[in-house]
Amino acid sequence: MKQAKLWVWLLVLSLGALVFWRAGVRDFSREALYPYENAKVWLERTVWVRVRAVLLRAHHASRNAMLERDVARLRIAEAEAEALAAEVTRLRALLDFTPPAAGRWQAAPVLSRGGTSAVWQSVRLGKGSLHGLREGDPVVVPEGVVGRVADVSAHTCEVMLVTDPNCRVACELETPGEGVGTVRGILYGGGASTAADPTLTLLYVVDPLRLRYLAREFEPAPRTRVLTSGLGQIFPKGLTVGYVLESRLEANGLSREASVMPAVDMAAVDEVFVLSRGGGRRAP
């Protein structure tokens, strides 16, 4: 009887927590799993890397040489970028331009993809509010934009990917051409094919992103690079989002819509960089 009473109390407390303490339940669940997910990342980085090194020994010499060349090239590029950044800062001060919001890049490992439901296109990172991350911080990799931070706990954060249907990014096309000016639009996540499309494929295909509200007169060429425009104050200007596949007039005929293939393979992302307003390497 006493045990039945204990269970009834546990049930009532659990329901009460779900109804009245939602944020606490979310944070508690993520923090409870964080040490084990972090241990998995540590095992992959230390043990599995060494096992793979033994198994793939033949490929390491050429790969090391290639990586050393890349590092040397990137060091030169970084030195040039630092010089350019100093010149930009000096010119901004001379022209009395408002400087961009300060930010620092922080590397973060990907702990899990999709959570426990896989309803949203999201990943969980192994850094949180204790590392200076906040909701809305942009998340990128060298290839391009990954998404933005949607929810933060002490040691983890949830990132909404740009492929999520609810994600919106202010974008522009790269160098559209002489006399055209800047062509801007809003990028929508891909999501599912509509009911009007009768094609059924059992093989999973990444749905293209949709760049909407483009100027109707301008038809972008395939493979035109899509960049963040910096409007909306979330993503810095000039980050690669994807590449145009094709475009068509929208149903209302007032603007044009382009299909965009994301630049980043979201399934292959293991480590990302988060632009936070405190901590890490300073953003350009």
């Binding site: 049930l11 779900l18 339940v25 993520r30 999709g114 439901s117 309803v119």
Partner: protein, 179 residues
Amino acid sequence: MRLDMHLPVLAVTLFAAALLQDLIPVTPSFPVKFVFLTAVALHAALTKPLPAALTAAVWAGGLTDALGGLPLLCTAGFLLVAFVLVRLMHRVFLEATVFQGMLLVAAAAVLQMVWTRLWVGTGQPFFTWHTLKLLLYAVPAGMTAGVAGFAICGLTDRVSGIVKPVKEGNGILWAETNR
């Protein structure tokens, strides 16, 4: 007071199920999650006393929603409804065997996906080929989770002493749940 082994057993199995369900990623070739938490909740519905089984359903649903970014009564509500249906079926034919668990969790995975997408409304039309594809993938995911969930939950019940084999007069051992 004798320690109720249901509590630590449920806590450990639900935690392990949440960890597995969270860590095993969706891939382009298999874009659905294995519903280990649902399997543990349905096994508890078949084998545990009423208040313990209800609590397991609420915990499993809460963990699924908290770690999956869903509204926090979405999956808990589904599992409570599933609990009632499973108990009714248990009176007629359903048992906590691995094979029946596999079929039960496969069906539950499909219904859970429908329930979740209708509750949440992902901003996309529901009746699409994409949704049908996801429901087809949910069947093998549910079967795998059912086999693993029911097998491991049965093993933990035996190891913890909740389920004890009873020797019949004719020498055949039958497991009898301690309800």
